[in-house]
Subunit: 336 residues, 2 copies
DNA sequence: GTCAAATGTGTGAACGTGCACACACTAGGA
DNA sequence: TCCTAGTGTGTGCACGTTCACACATTTGAC
């Protein structure tokens, strides 16, 4: 696979005139004289030595890899603007710590079996789990294995020993909805995607809380997915239920874009007739006309923190607080 | 890390009443009696034995990992609708063959140094390289190492022994541009992103070829990136150079969306005043108003084929043809 | 001058696997 | 009977590393 042979500890021990043990000690810390250390470091530099991962992993009983488990269909993996950013953030932190990130997208039943085997096979030392739902079998495996891991998001009532990182969906939803009310909107509805997921459920609760006495059950349109089509469909439902609707909180930017499309079809203008706000601050938000007021999700930071949470468990540190909620500031643009 | 100890070949050899060697043989093929095989397979199933990757990798002198190298800034990694699909396709094929995909995003100079070390360190057995440019140092490293690899895209005049997979940018660009001409457009321009990349350059050549005598150098606006902002800027440039322009081929869907935005600002209607076509068939294409006619890129297939190309080299098969061009059908929608 | 602690260094064993080799048994032909 | 080929099986070694242990040298206190 390579030109010649890879250099080993033996080679550089010979080159530096010391033994394997001493080389190992300069690599991993321990008592080494200044002279020996200098000679060894010089030899390492000259030969271009890199320790063999497989040998190290074998003796250390670890894999030096972290699984990045996405419990979503492949298509959604692509659509969701956040997952990519989270992945990149996690990857950056992990590779800086010399860990390798292994992507595991769990879509079909077959995937579940494969990944379960993979996880129990000691192929990874830890896991970052995205889009977890309580009932998922993968979660049970991770919990049972006591694999150092972190959730992205906040799955309720499940494995309370596993830390999580996310944003305060509830508070942010409440805050952005309140803006609709304070700017005079009186018939405010919500297009609520994925209420079976903690993020979706929390956004709905925040919305309800912001509205208080103004809340009207009939002005909530639940839709399955965080996407454009669901947004358009949800908006049409709301318009049908109450044509006097003058404000909408969409559960995501893609949903908001769909809603604006439906409003345009219905001849309503945004924000004059209806105020619209979204969630995510994804690339959608700046492409809609008018541009979208929304909640900014710090995807990269979330990924970095999730990775950090796993790394800290691996180092044996204990995690002070179970949950970590990152700031998700509101970005005011033109749609409300 | 796990409850108790992982089972090893010894354990299941003992359980089945045979020796390590025989167990190894049922795992890797060889002469084994039916009785022994049955006993061993039963033991494996009962104990839930999974071979230790590190030990196997150590003795086999390989890492069982393939690098997925993206030579782009992180931001572009997220923006580019194709990369995600390619990644998913490659990941699926690789993990089906029990290989692990390691994401390596090369952005800064520091990344280059780290990845170079990583590649030469034997951490990966092969590489899939996306968005290669001829001058990139990483390419030199891969070439020098003779690492089994495949390009996504078609970098010209560089390492002719490395196979590639992609689409025929030239032919597709020519075909979709021709449509503008046959539907009566006479002043047809192009917003040409990333002409320093093979994909960008080929699309420009295809455009020129389709136009033939109608081609006008002044109606080509070169822009650096495949994104919305560049599309808007490019369109404004074209409108300025020739207000009678009636057709535009945008180098990507994001660029086309930006162009349509600029056209709207300038009070032109699409497709009545100006016909617009894009490239990629990304999620942009169905979000524009009107929806975009574009070239469909089979991103998942490209990833699968690239992975397959690497796997075949690893198996020692020789690759019959150097380049593999996948079909990229045109999708006709409303914008032209 | 002796002992103990601190500082360095070398050596053997172990991690779990695959592979080459030695060996055992059977069957069939000369 | 002997040899050869085919079919099975067990054993030793190697892969490259880390770690525990044994040992050597220096330092400093009593």
């Amino acid at each position: 696979m390579k030109s010649g042979k890879r250099a080993t500890v033996h080679d550089i021990a010979a080159a530096a005139g010391v033994s394997r043990g001493t080389v190992s000690r300069v690599l991993n810390g321990g008592y080494v004289s200044a002279a020996a250390r200098a000679a060894i470091e010089r030899a390492i530099r000259e030969v271009g030595y890199v320790p063999n991962t497989a040998a190290r992993n074998l003796v250390m009983q670890r894999s030096q890899a972290i699984g990045f488990i996405v419990l979503e269909p492949h298509s959604l993996f692509l659509e969701d603007p956040n997952i990519g950013g989270i992945m990149l953030g996690a990857n950056a932190t992990l590779s800086a710590a010399d860990y390798q990130m292994v992507n595991l997208v769990v879509d079909s039943e077959r995937d579940t079996a494969r990944i379960t085997r993979y996880l129990s096979g000691g192929f990874v030392d830890g896991a970052i789990i995205v889009s977890a739902r309580s009932h998922d079998p993968i979660i049970q495996v991770v919990g049972g294995l006591a694999l150092p891991s972190a959730f992205v998001g906040h799955p309720r009532d499940l494995h309370p020993e596993i830390p999580y990182v996310g944003i305060d969906n509830l508070a942010s939803a409440e805050e952005i909805t309140r803006r609709l009310v304070t700017t005079g909107r009186r018939r405010v509805g919500m297009i609520a995607p994925a209420v079976d997921r903690d993020s979706g459920a929390d956004r709905l609760i925040g919305f309800r809380r912001a509205l208080g006495p103004l809340f009207d059950e009939s002005l909530v349109a639940e839709v399955p997915l965080y996407d454009f089509a669901c947004g358009a469909k949800g908006m049409r439902t709301l318009l049908e239920r109450d044509p006097t609707i003058d404000g909408v909180f969409a559960g995501s930017d893609a949903v908001a874009a769909g809603a604006m499309e439906a409003l345009r079809e219905a001849g309503r203008s945004v924000p004059a007739d209806v105020g619209v706000v979204g969630f995510d601050d994804s690339s959608w938000a700046q492409r809609t006309r008018p541009t979208l007021s929304t909640v900014h999700q710090p995807a990269g930071d979330i990924g970095e923190h999730a990775a950090d949470l796993v790394l800290r468990q691996l180092r044996g540190e204990d995690i002070p607080q179970r949950g970590l909620l990152l700031p998700s500031p509101i970005v005011w643009r033109a749609s409300a």
